[in-house]
Protein backbone atom coordinates (compact mmCIF):
# COMPACT_ATOMS: atom_id res chain seq x y z
CA UNK A 1 0.00 0.00 0.00
CA UNK A 2 1.33 3.40 -0.93
CA UNK A 3 1.61 6.16 1.65
CA UNK A 4 -0.73 8.46 -0.23
CA UNK A 5 -3.59 5.95 0.09
CA UNK A 6 -3.43 6.00 3.89
CA UNK A 7 -4.39 8.58 6.49
CA UNK A 8 -0.68 9.50 6.62
CA UNK A 9 -0.75 10.92 3.13
CA UNK A 10 0.48 14.30 4.35
CA UNK A 11 3.41 12.84 6.28
CA UNK A 12 6.26 14.07 4.03
CA UNK A 13 4.91 17.62 4.21
CA UNK A 14 4.47 17.42 7.96
CA UNK A 15 8.05 16.15 8.41
CA UNK A 16 9.29 19.01 6.29
CA UNK A 17 7.46 21.53 8.48
CA UNK A 18 8.89 19.91 11.62
CA UNK A 19 12.37 20.18 10.14
CA UNK A 20 11.83 23.84 9.31
CA UNK A 21 10.64 24.55 12.88
CA UNK A 22 13.71 22.85 14.35
CA UNK A 23 16.01 24.84 12.05
CA UNK A 24 14.20 28.07 12.96
CA UNK A 25 14.66 27.38 16.69
CA UNK A 26 18.33 26.57 16.24
CA UNK A 27 18.94 29.68 14.16
CA UNK A 28 17.16 32.02 16.55
CA UNK A 29 18.96 30.50 19.54
CA UNK A 30 22.22 31.16 17.74
CA UNK A 31 21.25 34.70 16.78
CA UNK A 32 20.22 35.68 20.32
CA UNK A 33 23.24 34.01 21.85
CA UNK A 34 21.12 31.76 24.07
CA UNK A 35 23.51 29.67 26.13
CA UNK A 36 21.95 26.82 28.07
CA UNK A 37 25.28 26.15 29.73
CA UNK A 38 24.63 29.22 31.91
CA UNK A 39 22.14 27.18 33.89
CA UNK A 40 24.85 24.80 34.99
CA UNK A 41 27.77 27.23 35.42
CA UNK A 42 25.75 29.57 37.64
CA UNK A 43 24.41 26.88 39.92
CA UNK A 44 25.98 28.54 42.98
CA UNK A 45 23.97 31.70 42.44
CA UNK A 46 20.87 29.58 41.98
CA UNK A 47 21.63 27.74 45.22
CA UNK A 48 21.83 30.99 47.23
CA UNK A 49 18.55 32.20 45.78
CA UNK A 50 16.79 28.92 46.40
CA UNK A 51 18.24 28.76 49.93
CA UNK A 52 16.45 31.96 50.91
CA UNK A 53 13.51 31.19 48.77
CA UNK A 54 12.78 27.93 50.52
CA UNK A 55 12.72 29.67 53.93
CA UNK A 56 9.89 32.20 53.57
CA UNK A 57 9.76 35.10 56.03
CA UNK A 58 6.25 34.38 57.28
CA UNK A 59 6.29 37.38 59.62
CA UNK A 60 6.32 39.56 56.53
CA UNK A 61 2.89 38.28 55.51
CA UNK A 62 0.95 40.72 57.66
CA UNK A 63 2.58 43.61 55.81
CA UNK A 64 1.53 42.51 52.34
CA UNK A 65 -2.18 42.05 52.95
CA UNK A 66 -3.03 45.71 52.40
CA UNK A 67 -1.02 46.03 49.17
CA UNK A 68 -2.70 42.86 47.92
CA UNK A 69 -6.15 44.29 48.63
CA UNK A 70 -5.11 47.42 46.79
CA UNK A 71 -4.02 45.29 43.84
CA UNK A 72 -7.38 43.51 43.79
CA UNK A 73 -9.22 46.81 43.89
CA UNK A 74 -7.12 48.16 41.06
CA UNK A 75 -7.91 45.06 39.03
CA UNK A 76 -11.64 45.39 39.71
CA UNK A 77 -11.83 49.07 38.80
CA UNK A 78 -9.55 48.61 35.79
CA UNK A 79 -11.61 45.71 34.49
CA UNK A 80 -14.89 47.56 34.93
CA UNK A 81 -13.64 50.77 33.30
CA UNK A 82 -12.08 48.90 30.39
CA UNK A 83 -15.11 46.69 29.80
CA UNK A 84 -17.70 49.43 30.10
CA UNK A 85 -15.96 51.40 27.37
CA UNK A 86 -14.96 48.46 25.17
CA UNK A 87 -18.30 46.64 25.04
CA UNK A 88 -20.46 49.32 23.40
CA UNK A 89 -17.67 50.49 21.10
CA UNK A 90 -16.89 47.01 19.83
CA UNK A 91 -20.30 46.85 18.17
CA UNK A 92 -19.05 49.62 15.90
CA UNK A 93 -16.10 47.44 14.98
CA UNK A 94 -18.31 44.94 13.15
CA UNK A 95 -19.79 45.33 9.69
CA UNK A 96 -22.86 43.45 10.95
CA UNK A 97 -23.81 46.49 13.03
CA UNK A 98 -22.39 49.39 11.04
CA UNK A 99 -22.94 47.98 7.55
CA UNK A 100 -20.04 50.21 6.63
CA UNK A 101 -16.50 48.96 6.02
CA UNK A 102 -14.90 52.37 6.48
CA UNK A 103 -16.36 52.98 9.95
CA UNK A 104 -15.55 49.43 11.03
CA UNK A 105 -12.02 49.71 9.68
CA UNK A 106 -11.29 52.95 11.51
CA UNK A 107 -12.71 51.74 14.82
CA UNK A 108 -10.72 48.51 14.55
CA UNK A 109 -7.55 50.37 13.69
CA UNK A 110 -7.90 52.53 16.81
CA UNK A 111 -8.59 49.47 18.95
CA UNK A 112 -5.59 47.67 17.50
CA UNK A 113 -3.33 50.63 18.19
CA UNK A 114 -4.47 50.71 21.81
CA UNK A 115 -3.91 46.97 22.12
CA UNK A 116 -0.46 47.15 20.60
CA UNK A 117 0.99 49.59 23.17
CA UNK A 118 2.93 47.44 25.66
CA UNK A 119 1.40 47.56 29.13
CA UNK A 120 4.64 48.50 30.84
CA UNK A 121 5.20 51.36 28.43
CA UNK A 122 1.67 52.53 29.08
CA UNK A 123 2.26 52.38 32.83
CA UNK A 124 5.51 54.31 32.49
CA UNK A 125 3.66 56.91 30.44
CA UNK A 126 0.90 57.28 33.02
CA UNK A 127 3.47 57.48 35.83
CA UNK A 128 5.03 60.37 33.97
CA UNK A 129 1.66 62.10 33.66
CA UNK A 130 -0.17 61.23 36.89
CA UNK A 131 2.74 60.32 39.14
CA UNK A 132 3.28 57.15 41.16
CA UNK A 133 0.27 55.49 42.72
CA UNK A 134 -2.79 53.33 42.29
CA UNK A 135 -4.57 55.77 39.96
CA UNK A 136 -1.86 55.12 37.42
CA UNK A 137 -2.29 51.39 37.91
CA UNK A 138 -6.04 51.60 37.44
CA UNK A 139 -5.71 53.64 34.26
CA UNK A 140 -3.14 51.26 32.83
CA UNK A 141 -5.30 48.26 33.61
CA UNK A 142 -8.34 50.00 32.13
CA UNK A 143 -6.58 50.62 28.83
CA UNK A 144 -5.13 47.11 28.90
CA UNK A 145 -8.59 45.63 29.56
CA UNK A 146 -10.08 47.79 26.83
CA UNK A 147 -7.59 46.34 24.37
CA UNK A 148 -8.30 42.71 25.18
CA UNK A 149 -12.03 43.16 25.66
CA UNK A 150 -12.64 45.03 22.41
CA UNK A 151 -10.78 42.41 20.39
CA UNK A 152 -12.59 39.50 22.06
CA UNK A 153 -15.91 41.30 21.63
CA UNK A 154 -15.75 42.15 17.96
CA UNK A 155 -14.55 38.67 17.11
CA UNK A 156 -17.46 37.30 19.13
CA UNK A 157 -20.03 39.53 17.46
CA UNK A 158 -18.81 38.46 14.03
CA UNK A 159 -19.65 34.84 14.84
CA UNK A 160 -23.28 35.25 15.93
CA UNK A 161 -26.29 33.75 14.20
CA UNK A 162 -27.47 36.43 11.79
CA UNK A 163 -30.93 35.03 11.14
CA UNK A 164 -32.67 36.70 14.12
CA UNK A 165 -31.30 40.03 12.89
CA UNK A 166 -33.08 39.49 9.61
CA UNK A 167 -36.29 38.70 11.48
CA UNK A 168 -36.00 41.85 13.59
CA UNK A 169 -35.36 43.87 10.47
CA UNK A 170 -38.47 42.40 8.87
CA UNK A 171 -40.74 43.57 11.70
CA UNK A 172 -39.48 47.13 11.31
CA UNK A 173 -36.95 47.30 14.15
CA UNK A 174 -34.32 50.05 13.97
CA UNK A 175 -30.57 49.33 14.20
CA UNK A 176 -30.32 49.96 17.96
CA UNK A 177 -33.29 47.69 18.61
CA UNK A 178 -31.70 45.00 16.46
CA UNK A 179 -28.48 45.18 18.50
CA UNK A 180 -30.24 45.03 21.84
CA UNK A 181 -32.89 42.44 20.95
CA UNK A 182 -31.13 40.17 18.50
CA UNK A 183 -27.40 40.42 19.22
CA UNK A 184 -27.08 41.04 22.96
CA UNK A 185 -29.03 37.93 24.10
CA UNK A 186 -26.79 35.80 21.89
CA UNK A 187 -23.56 37.03 23.44
CA UNK A 188 -24.34 38.27 26.96
CA UNK A 189 -23.34 35.09 28.81
CA UNK A 190 -20.09 34.87 26.86
CA UNK A 191 -19.32 38.53 27.52
CA UNK A 192 -19.77 37.93 31.25
CA UNK A 193 -17.22 35.14 31.15
CA UNK A 194 -14.85 37.35 29.13
CA UNK A 195 -15.06 40.00 31.87
CA UNK A 196 -14.08 37.43 34.48
CA UNK A 197 -11.23 36.27 32.26
CA UNK A 198 -9.95 39.84 31.84
CA UNK A 199 -10.16 40.28 35.62
CA UNK A 200 -7.91 37.25 36.10
CA UNK A 201 -5.38 38.60 33.63
CA UNK A 202 -5.52 41.98 35.34
CA UNK A 203 -4.54 40.55 38.72
CA UNK A 204 -1.44 39.04 37.16
CA UNK A 205 -0.70 42.17 35.18
CA UNK A 206 -1.11 44.44 38.18
CA UNK A 207 1.69 42.63 40.04
CA UNK A 208 4.05 43.53 37.22
CA UNK A 209 2.80 47.09 37.14
CA UNK A 210 4.20 47.60 40.63
CA UNK A 211 7.59 47.63 38.95
CA UNK A 212 7.02 51.03 37.47
CA UNK A 213 5.43 52.32 40.65
CA UNK A 214 1.82 51.80 39.72
CA UNK A 215 0.87 50.71 43.23
CA UNK A 216 -0.18 47.47 44.87
CA UNK A 217 1.66 44.25 45.63
CA UNK A 218 4.05 44.73 42.72
CA UNK A 219 5.72 47.64 44.47
CA UNK A 220 6.44 45.50 47.51
CA UNK A 221 7.68 42.66 45.33
CA UNK A 222 9.99 44.99 43.49
CA UNK A 223 11.55 46.46 46.60
CA UNK A 224 12.00 43.02 48.21
CA UNK A 225 13.82 41.86 45.10
CA UNK A 226 15.94 45.02 45.11
CA UNK A 227 17.00 44.35 48.71
CA UNK A 228 17.81 40.69 47.91
CA UNK A 229 15.22 39.63 50.51
CA UNK A 230 14.36 36.43 48.72
CA UNK A 231 12.71 35.11 51.86
CA UNK A 232 10.19 37.92 51.51
CA UNK A 233 9.94 37.53 47.73
CA UNK A 234 9.01 33.95 48.45
CA UNK A 235 6.10 34.96 50.72
CA UNK A 236 4.87 37.51 48.21
CA UNK A 237 4.95 35.08 45.32
CA UNK A 238 3.19 32.40 47.35
CA UNK A 239 0.52 34.91 48.31
CA UNK A 240 0.02 36.04 44.71
CA UNK A 241 -0.17 32.42 43.67
CA UNK A 242 -2.81 31.68 46.30
CA UNK A 243 -4.89 34.71 45.34
CA UNK A 244 -4.77 33.92 41.64
CA UNK A 245 -5.65 30.33 42.42
CA UNK A 246 -8.70 31.41 44.41
CA UNK A 247 -9.83 34.01 41.86
CA UNK A 248 -9.39 31.49 39.05
CA UNK A 249 -11.49 29.03 40.96
CA UNK A 250 -14.27 31.51 41.64
CA UNK A 251 -14.39 32.80 38.09
CA UNK A 252 -14.24 29.27 36.71
CA UNK A 253 -17.25 28.44 38.87
CA UNK A 254 -19.22 31.42 37.59
CA UNK A 255 -18.16 30.93 34.00
CA UNK A 256 -19.35 27.35 34.06
CA UNK A 257 -22.71 28.46 35.38
CA UNK A 258 -22.96 31.15 32.73
CA UNK A 259 -22.57 28.93 29.70
Amino acid sequence: MKLKDTIHRNLPGQLLILLLVVIAIAMSAHATGADFGLFIRNHRQMGIFMGYFMRPDWAFFSRIIDPMILTLRMAVVGTVLGSVTAIPLSFLATTIVTGNRAVTGIVRLLMNIIRTVPTLLLAALFVAIFGIGPVTGVLTLAVFSFGIMSKLMYDLIETIDLSPLEAAESVGANPVQIVVWSIVPQISHIVASYILYVFEINIRASTILGYVGAGGIGVVLNSALGLFRYDRVSVIILFILAVIFIVDGISEFFRRRLT
Binding site: D161, S163, P164, E166, A167, A168, E169, S170, V171, G172, A173, N174, V176, Q177, V180, W181, S182, P185, Q186, S188, H189
Partner: protein
Protein backbone atom coordinates in the same frame (compact mmCIF):
# COMPACT_ATOMS: atom_id res chain seq x y z
CA UNK B 1 -53.12 44.95 -2.27
CA UNK B 2 -49.58 44.27 -3.47
CA UNK B 3 -48.66 45.51 -6.90
CA UNK B 4 -45.53 44.54 -8.84
CA UNK B 5 -44.89 46.98 -11.66
CA UNK B 6 -42.29 45.73 -14.12
CA UNK B 7 -40.00 44.62 -11.29
CA UNK B 8 -36.47 43.47 -12.06
CA UNK B 9 -33.58 42.57 -9.83
CA UNK B 10 -30.07 42.34 -11.14
CA UNK B 11 -27.45 41.01 -8.73
CA UNK B 12 -24.00 42.63 -8.68
CA UNK B 13 -22.71 39.46 -10.32
CA UNK B 14 -24.90 40.28 -13.32
CA UNK B 15 -27.36 37.46 -12.66
CA UNK B 16 -30.98 38.46 -13.07
CA UNK B 17 -32.97 37.46 -9.96
CA UNK B 18 -36.25 38.81 -11.28
CA UNK B 19 -37.11 39.79 -14.84
CA UNK B 20 -39.84 42.33 -15.55
CA UNK B 21 -42.47 40.96 -13.20
CA UNK B 22 -45.86 42.66 -13.23
CA UNK B 23 -48.71 41.27 -11.17
CA UNK B 24 -51.15 42.03 -8.39
CA UNK B 25 -51.93 40.13 -5.24
CA UNK B 26 -55.25 41.03 -3.66
CA UNK B 27 -56.14 41.19 0.03
CA UNK B 28 -56.91 37.84 1.59
CA UNK B 29 -55.34 35.70 -1.12
CA UNK B 30 -53.29 32.63 -0.24
CA UNK B 31 -50.57 32.55 -2.87
CA UNK B 32 -47.94 29.86 -3.30
CA UNK B 33 -44.81 30.62 -5.24
CA UNK B 34 -43.32 27.53 -6.85
CA UNK B 35 -40.26 26.88 -8.96
CA UNK B 36 -36.97 25.07 -8.64
CA UNK B 37 -33.97 26.31 -6.68
CA UNK B 38 -32.61 29.52 -8.10
CA UNK B 39 -35.86 30.39 -9.87
CA UNK B 40 -36.08 33.63 -7.88
CA UNK B 41 -38.72 32.63 -5.30
CA UNK B 42 -36.78 34.00 -2.35
CA UNK B 43 -35.81 37.14 -4.21
CA UNK B 44 -39.45 37.69 -5.14
CA UNK B 45 -40.66 37.31 -1.57
CA UNK B 46 -37.91 39.37 0.01
CA UNK B 47 -38.45 42.22 -2.38
CA UNK B 48 -41.96 42.67 -0.98
CA UNK B 49 -40.63 43.81 2.43
CA UNK B 50 -37.40 45.05 0.86
CA UNK B 51 -35.05 42.69 2.65
CA UNK B 52 -33.78 42.62 -0.92
CA UNK B 53 -33.66 45.79 -2.95
CA UNK B 54 -34.94 45.61 -6.50
CA UNK B 55 -33.02 47.33 -9.27
CA UNK B 56 -35.90 48.23 -11.55
CA UNK B 57 -39.63 48.88 -11.35
CA UNK B 58 -41.87 49.53 -8.36
CA UNK B 59 -43.59 47.54 -5.67
CA UNK B 60 -46.65 49.22 -4.24
CA UNK B 61 -48.35 48.04 -1.09
CA UNK B 62 -51.80 49.45 -0.33
CA UNK B 63 -51.07 52.43 -2.51
CA UNK B 64 -47.68 53.19 -1.01
CA UNK B 65 -44.45 52.49 -2.84
CA UNK B 66 -42.07 50.44 -0.70
CA UNK B 67 -39.43 50.89 -3.37
CA UNK B 68 -39.36 54.65 -2.92
CA UNK B 69 -39.74 54.65 0.87
CA UNK B 70 -36.99 56.15 3.01
CA UNK B 71 -35.64 54.30 6.03
CA UNK B 72 -38.25 55.58 8.44
CA UNK B 73 -41.15 54.94 6.07
CA UNK B 74 -39.74 51.52 5.27
CA UNK B 75 -39.73 50.52 8.95
CA UNK B 76 -43.30 51.72 9.24
CA UNK B 77 -44.38 49.75 6.17
CA UNK B 78 -42.62 46.64 7.45
CA UNK B 79 -44.83 46.61 10.54
CA UNK B 80 -47.68 45.53 8.27
CA UNK B 81 -45.71 42.74 6.64
CA UNK B 82 -44.88 39.71 8.78
CA UNK B 83 -42.26 37.23 7.73
CA UNK B 84 -41.64 33.57 8.48
CA UNK B 85 -38.34 31.95 7.58
CA UNK B 86 -37.14 28.47 6.74
CA UNK B 87 -34.73 28.57 9.68
CA UNK B 88 -37.30 30.16 12.06
CA UNK B 89 -34.86 32.99 12.88
CA UNK B 90 -35.64 33.14 16.57
CA UNK B 91 -33.20 34.40 19.17
CA UNK B 92 -32.51 30.94 20.57
CA UNK B 93 -31.33 32.07 23.99
CA UNK B 94 -34.36 34.27 24.53
CA UNK B 95 -37.69 33.06 25.85
CA UNK B 96 -40.69 32.38 23.64
CA UNK B 97 -42.40 35.41 25.16
CA UNK B 98 -39.52 37.71 24.28
CA UNK B 99 -39.29 36.36 20.75
CA UNK B 100 -42.99 36.85 20.11
CA UNK B 101 -42.99 40.28 21.73
CA UNK B 102 -40.20 41.33 19.37
CA UNK B 103 -42.89 41.47 16.69
CA UNK B 104 -43.98 44.72 18.33
CA UNK B 105 -40.55 46.42 18.08
CA UNK B 106 -41.54 48.47 15.07
CA UNK B 107 -44.22 50.18 17.16
CA UNK B 108 -41.86 51.28 19.93
CA UNK B 109 -39.30 54.02 20.33
CA UNK B 110 -35.71 52.95 20.87
CA UNK B 111 -35.81 54.04 24.49
CA UNK B 112 -38.98 52.20 25.41
CA UNK B 113 -37.85 48.97 23.78
CA UNK B 114 -34.42 49.22 25.46
CA UNK B 115 -35.82 49.30 28.96
CA UNK B 116 -38.56 46.85 28.02
CA UNK B 117 -41.46 49.22 28.60
CA UNK B 118 -44.20 47.31 26.79
CA UNK B 119 -47.90 47.93 27.22
CA UNK B 120 -50.25 45.52 28.91
CA UNK B 121 -52.17 45.27 25.66
CA UNK B 122 -49.07 43.95 23.90
CA UNK B 123 -48.53 41.29 26.54
CA UNK B 124 -52.13 40.27 25.92
CA UNK B 125 -51.42 40.10 22.19
CA UNK B 126 -48.53 37.74 22.89
CA UNK B 127 -50.76 35.55 25.02
CA UNK B 128 -53.49 35.43 22.40
CA UNK B 129 -51.06 34.70 19.58
CA UNK B 130 -49.48 31.81 21.48
CA UNK B 131 -52.92 30.46 22.28
CA UNK B 132 -53.80 30.53 18.60
CA UNK B 133 -50.72 28.50 17.65
CA UNK B 134 -51.20 26.16 20.62
CA UNK B 135 -48.11 27.08 22.62
CA UNK B 136 -49.61 28.83 25.65
CA UNK B 137 -47.72 26.58 28.05
CA UNK B 138 -44.34 27.51 26.51
CA UNK B 139 -44.46 31.23 27.33
CA UNK B 140 -41.34 31.24 29.52
CA UNK B 141 -39.45 28.44 27.82
CA UNK B 142 -36.18 29.19 26.10
CA UNK B 143 -36.75 29.02 22.35
CA UNK B 144 -34.03 26.46 21.69
CA UNK B 145 -35.81 24.00 23.97
CA UNK B 146 -38.65 23.71 21.46
CA UNK B 147 -38.91 21.37 18.49
CA UNK B 148 -38.60 22.68 14.95
CA UNK B 149 -42.35 22.75 14.42
CA UNK B 150 -42.91 24.56 17.70
CA UNK B 151 -40.23 27.11 16.83
CA UNK B 152 -41.93 27.77 13.53
CA UNK B 153 -45.21 28.31 15.35
CA UNK B 154 -43.46 30.81 17.62
CA UNK B 155 -42.39 32.70 14.54
CA UNK B 156 -45.96 32.60 13.25
CA UNK B 157 -47.06 34.04 16.60
CA UNK B 158 -44.49 36.79 16.10
CA UNK B 159 -46.18 37.86 12.88
CA UNK B 160 -49.56 37.72 14.62
CA UNK B 161 -48.61 40.17 17.37
CA UNK B 162 -47.17 42.33 14.66
CA UNK B 163 -50.78 42.57 13.45
CA UNK B 164 -49.48 42.46 9.93
CA UNK B 165 -52.00 42.29 7.14
CA UNK B 166 -49.56 40.45 4.88
CA UNK B 167 -47.60 37.37 5.88
CA UNK B 168 -44.62 36.26 3.80
CA UNK B 169 -43.32 32.76 4.38
CA UNK B 170 -39.99 31.82 2.83
CA UNK B 171 -39.84 28.02 2.62
CA UNK B 172 -41.54 27.73 6.02
CA UNK B 173 -41.66 23.93 6.00
CA UNK B 174 -38.45 23.05 4.20
CA UNK B 175 -36.70 21.95 7.39
CA UNK B 176 -39.69 20.16 8.94
CA UNK B 177 -40.96 16.59 8.81
CA UNK B 178 -44.07 15.75 6.74
CA UNK B 179 -46.56 15.71 9.64
CA UNK B 180 -45.35 18.99 11.10
CA UNK B 181 -45.38 20.40 7.59
CA UNK B 182 -49.11 19.71 7.27
CA UNK B 183 -49.76 21.33 10.66
CA UNK B 184 -47.80 24.49 9.87
CA UNK B 185 -49.48 24.85 6.49
CA UNK B 186 -52.87 24.34 8.15
CA UNK B 187 -51.98 27.06 10.69
CA UNK B 188 -51.19 29.43 7.85
CA UNK B 189 -54.46 28.58 6.13
CA UNK B 190 -56.36 29.20 9.35
CA UNK B 191 -54.74 32.61 9.72
CA UNK B 192 -55.61 33.35 6.13
CA UNK B 193 -59.25 32.30 6.45
CA UNK B 194 -60.10 33.39 9.99
CA UNK B 195 -58.12 36.62 10.18
CA UNK B 196 -58.29 37.51 6.50
CA UNK B 197 -54.54 38.05 6.17
CA UNK B 198 -52.86 37.84 2.81
CA UNK B 199 -50.41 34.91 2.85
CA UNK B 200 -47.63 34.43 0.32
CA UNK B 201 -45.63 31.23 0.67
CA UNK B 202 -42.56 29.97 -1.14
CA UNK B 203 -42.81 26.23 -1.57
CA UNK B 204 -40.79 23.47 -3.10
CA UNK B 205 -43.67 21.07 -3.14
CA UNK B 206 -46.32 21.35 -5.82
CA UNK B 207 -48.52 19.06 -3.73
CA UNK B 208 -48.61 21.50 -0.82
CA UNK B 209 -49.18 24.45 -3.11
CA UNK B 210 -52.19 22.75 -4.64
CA UNK B 211 -53.62 21.65 -1.34
CA UNK B 212 -53.43 24.90 0.57
CA UNK B 213 -53.36 27.91 -1.69
CA UNK B 214 -55.97 29.80 -3.67
CA UNK B 215 -53.49 30.86 -6.30
CA UNK B 216 -50.19 29.52 -7.60
CA UNK B 217 -47.48 31.59 -9.21
CA UNK B 218 -44.74 29.68 -10.98
CA UNK B 219 -41.32 31.23 -11.42
CA UNK B 220 -38.52 30.13 -13.71
CA UNK B 221 -35.24 32.02 -14.12
CA UNK B 222 -36.81 35.10 -12.53
CA UNK B 223 -39.86 35.17 -14.78
CA UNK B 224 -43.50 34.36 -14.11
CA UNK B 225 -44.23 31.27 -16.17
CA UNK B 226 -47.48 30.29 -14.51
CA UNK B 227 -50.15 32.25 -12.67
CA UNK B 228 -53.44 30.60 -11.94
CA UNK B 229 -55.63 28.60 -9.60
CA UNK B 230 -54.54 25.25 -8.12
CA UNK B 231 -57.03 23.55 -10.43
CA UNK B 232 -55.32 25.00 -13.46
CA UNK B 233 -51.91 23.87 -12.21
CA UNK B 234 -52.29 20.34 -13.51
CA UNK B 235 -49.44 17.88 -13.80
CA UNK B 236 -49.62 18.32 -17.57
CA UNK B 237 -49.29 22.08 -17.51
CA UNK B 238 -46.48 22.08 -14.97
CA UNK B 239 -44.58 19.34 -16.75
CA UNK B 240 -44.78 21.32 -19.96
CA UNK B 241 -43.28 24.34 -18.21
CA UNK B 242 -40.73 22.75 -15.94
CA UNK B 243 -40.27 19.15 -17.01
CA UNK B 244 -40.47 16.28 -14.53
CA UNK B 245 -38.04 18.05 -12.22
CA UNK B 246 -40.66 20.18 -10.49
CA UNK B 247 -42.37 17.20 -8.85
CA UNK B 248 -39.19 15.85 -7.32
CA UNK B 249 -38.31 19.08 -5.58
CA UNK B 250 -40.43 18.38 -2.54
CA UNK B 251 -37.81 15.91 -1.35
CA UNK B 252 -34.89 18.26 -1.85
CA UNK B 253 -33.44 20.39 0.85
CA UNK B 254 -32.62 23.66 -0.73
Amino acid sequence: MIEFKDVSKKYPSGVMGLKGISLQIGDGEFVSIIGSSGAGKSTFLRSINRLNDITDGQIIIDGQSITAANKRQLRKLRRHIGMIFQTFNLVKKSTVQKNVLSGRLGYYSTFKSLIGWFSKKDYELVKDALERVGLSDKLHHRSDQLSGGQQQRVSIARTLVQQASIILADEPVASLDPITTQKIMADLRKINQELGKTVIVNLHSVELARKFSTRIIGLKSGEVVFDGSPVEATDEVLTRIYGEEIFKDGEDDA
